[in-house]
C-alpha cells in the first residue's frame, strides 16, 4: 500500500482583490497525482511558486484540497477525526530553524511532541534519547537551542518530529538557510532515518547535490508535475530543465556540453567519478579506433 497518495489534487488560494471586496483565487496546485510507496526517498524540485510547498502542506493536512483527495497511509486528509493520526503519521520540518524550536533546552524541545501525544514519561525519555541519537545531537541534549548552529537547530527540529515516530517526514527546504556543512549534516540525518528506520522522506530542495541520491525525483512547474523519474532519468533532460531555468548538477551540465560537441558520453551523468570514467573510456575508444 502507498504511504502517500494524491488524486487529481487541486488547491486554490483565496485572496481579497485590489478593490478590497471581491475574492480572487489563484491556483497553486493544479491536478497532481502522486503515489509514493513506503520507505522511499523522494526529492521535489521546482521554482518558488511552482506549488511544491502547497503540495507538501497537504501531506499533513495543514492545507486541505480544493478539489481531489489526499490519502496519508490510507486516511483521507479531509476526515477531521483522523487529523491527529495523520499528523502523527506525516511529520513536517520547515525552512527556518528559528521558527520551529520552542523548548529552552534541547531535550525538552524534542519531548514536546510525544508529551502532547500523551506518551508515558519513561517512553518519552527513551524516544528523546533515540531520536537525538539518530540525528547526532545527543551530546547537545542539555544545551540551549539558541547557541546551536543552523544545521544543529534543524537536526533538533528533525529529532522533534522523529520522537513522534512518524512513518513519513516532509522536509520543506530544510537546508535553504544553512551553510554547506550544515546542509550536509541535515541531509545525512534524513538519509540515515530513511535507510535505518525506513522512514519515507519527501525532501523539497533547490540544491542539486541533495537530489542525486534520491530514489525518485519530482519536478514541479506551475502547479503541475513537469517530469519525474530516477535522478538519472530526470537529469538526462538537460534541455527541458534549462528551458524552465532549473539547475542541473555542474558535472551533468559539463557532460551535456561535451556530448553536444561530439564526445561519446552517456546521458544523465551525475557524479564527478562517472564523468571522469566516461571521458577515460572515450579516450581509450579513440586511441584504439584505428
Amino acid at each position: 500500500m502507498s504511504i502517500i497518495q494524491a488524486k487529481k489534487l487541486i488547491h486554490d488560494y483565496q485572496k481579497i482583490g485590489e478593490d478590497g471586496k471581491t475574492e480572487v483565487s489563484s491556483r497553486a496546485v493544479d491536478g497532481v497525482d502522486l503515489d509514493i510507496a513506503p520507505g522511499q526517498f523522494i526529492a521535489i524540485l521546482g521554482h518558488n511558486g511552482s506549488g511544491k510547498s502547497t503540495l507538501a502542506k497537504h501531506i499533513n493536512a495543514i492545507l486541505l484540497p480544493t478539489h481531489g483527495t489526499v490519502y496519508v497511509d490510507g486516511m483521507d486528509t479531509k476526515d477531521a477525526e483522523k487529523l491527529e493520526d495523520i499528523r502523527r503519521t506525516a511529520g513536517m520540518v520547515f525552512q527556518n530553524p528559528d521558527n520551529q524550536i520552542i523548548g529552552t533546552v534541547v531535550d525538552e524541545d524534542v519531548a514536546f511532541g510525544p508529551e502532547n501525544m500523551g506518551v508515558p514519561t519513561p517512553e518519552i525519555l527513551s524516544r528523546v534519547e533515540s531520536s537525538l541519537k539518530s540525528v547526532g545531537m545527543w551530546e547537545y541534549r542539555d544545551h540551549s537551542p539558541n547557541r546551536l548552529s543552523g544545521g544543529q537547530k534543524q537536526r533538533v527540529a528533525i529529532a522533534g518530529v522523529v520522537a513522534m515516530e512518524p512513518k513519513c517526514i516532509v522536509l520543506d527546504e530544510p537546508t535553504a538557510m544553512l551553510d554547506p556543512m550544515g546542509r550536509k549534516e541535515v541531509i545525512r540525518a534524513a538519509q540515515k532515518l530513511n535507510r535505518e528506520k525506513q522512514v519515507t522522506i519527501l525532501l523539497i530542495t533547490h540544491y542539486m547535490e541533495e537530489v542525486i541520491e534520491a530514489d525518485h525525483v519530482i519536478v514541479m512547474d506551475q502547479g503541475k508535475i513537469l517530469m519525474q523519474g530516477t535522478p538519472r532519468e530526470v537529469f538526462s533532460r538537460v534541455e527541458e530543465l534549462k528551458e524552465h531555468r532549473l539547475d542541473v548538477p555542474q558535472v551533468t551540465m559539463l557532460a551535456y556540453e561535451l556530448k553536444k560537441s561530439g564526445l561519446p558520453l552517456p546521458d544523465g551523468i551525475l557524479t564527478v567519478q562517472e564523468l571522469v570514467d566516461a571521458l577515460d573510456a572515450a579516450r581509450a575508444q579513440r586511441g584504439s579506433a584505428e
Binding site: H47, N48, P180, Q250, L258, S261, L263, R286, G287
Partner: protein, 289 residues
Amino acid sequence: MSIKLEHVNYIYSPGTAYEKQALTDICLEFPDGQFAGIIGHTGSGKSTLIQHLNGLVRATSGTVYYNGEDIYREDYPMKDLRSRVGLVFQYPEYQLFEVDVFSDVCFGPKNLGLPKEEVEKRAYHALQQVGLKEKYFKKSPFELSGGQKRRAAIAGILAMQPEVLILDEPTAGLDPKGRDDILDQIQLLHREQGITVVLVSHSMEDIARYVERIVVMDKGRVRFNDRPEKVFEHYRELEQIGLAAPQVTYVMQALRERGMDVDIHAATVEGAAASIRSYFGNFEKRREG
C-alpha cells in the same frame, strides 16, 4: 577608491566570559572597480569583516582606510562613508518596512537630505537597475515574491549611489532563477558602472562564475587571497576548513591524474568544456599525424 585594512583585530565582548577574537591581523585591500568574493565557513569572520568595511563595527586595533583616509580619524565623515559603501545584509527583505516598494527605496536617499525630486529619480533608477518592473512600485513589499523582495531591498542600497556594494549572501534561500537574476544584475552594475563589488557567498559555483578575486576566511584569519583559479588549486585545504572547490575543479584534477593534459584551473562549465574539447581535438590530431 579603495578600501584597505591594516592589521585589523576585532574582539567581541572583551573582558567578559563571552570574549571572542573574531578577526586576527587582517591585512587586505579591495581596489577600485574589482568584483571580489569572500568565502568561509560559518563563524569564520566573514560578516564581522564586511561590517568593518563601512565602519559599522570599529576594529579593536588596526586601521581601515577608505581612499587613503583613516576612517577612525576623529573628524572623519562616517555618515558619508556609509552612503558610499553600501552594505546589503543577509535576508535584507526582513528590513523592508514602508507601505510600498517605492517609498521603501526612497528612505535611504531621503535621509541623505536630498531634495524630493532627486530622491525619487534615484529610487526610480535603482529599481530599474535591479530589474523590478514599474507595476510593483506601489505594491506593499509583503506582496512580492522572495526574489522580488530581495531586489527591492538591494535597490534601497543602490539608491544611495554607493561606490562600493557589499552583499552578504544575497542569494541565500532563493531558487536557481532568483539566484541567477540577482547575480547577473549585480554583474551588469559592475560592468557598466564600474561599481566595486564584494560578494560574500557559500556557493563556490557562483563565486567561480562571477568574481575576479577570492578572499578565504578561516577562524578569523585570511587563509587565501588570490584569483579564483589559484585559490581552487588548494581544494584539499579548502575541504579541511569546511569548504570545497566547484565540482568541475574536481573533474579537471581527476582527469589530470589520469594523464590527460587538461587545464586544472578551469572552474566554470564553459572553461572546463573548452579545455576538454581542445584536449580531445589535439589527441585526434596526434593520432592522425
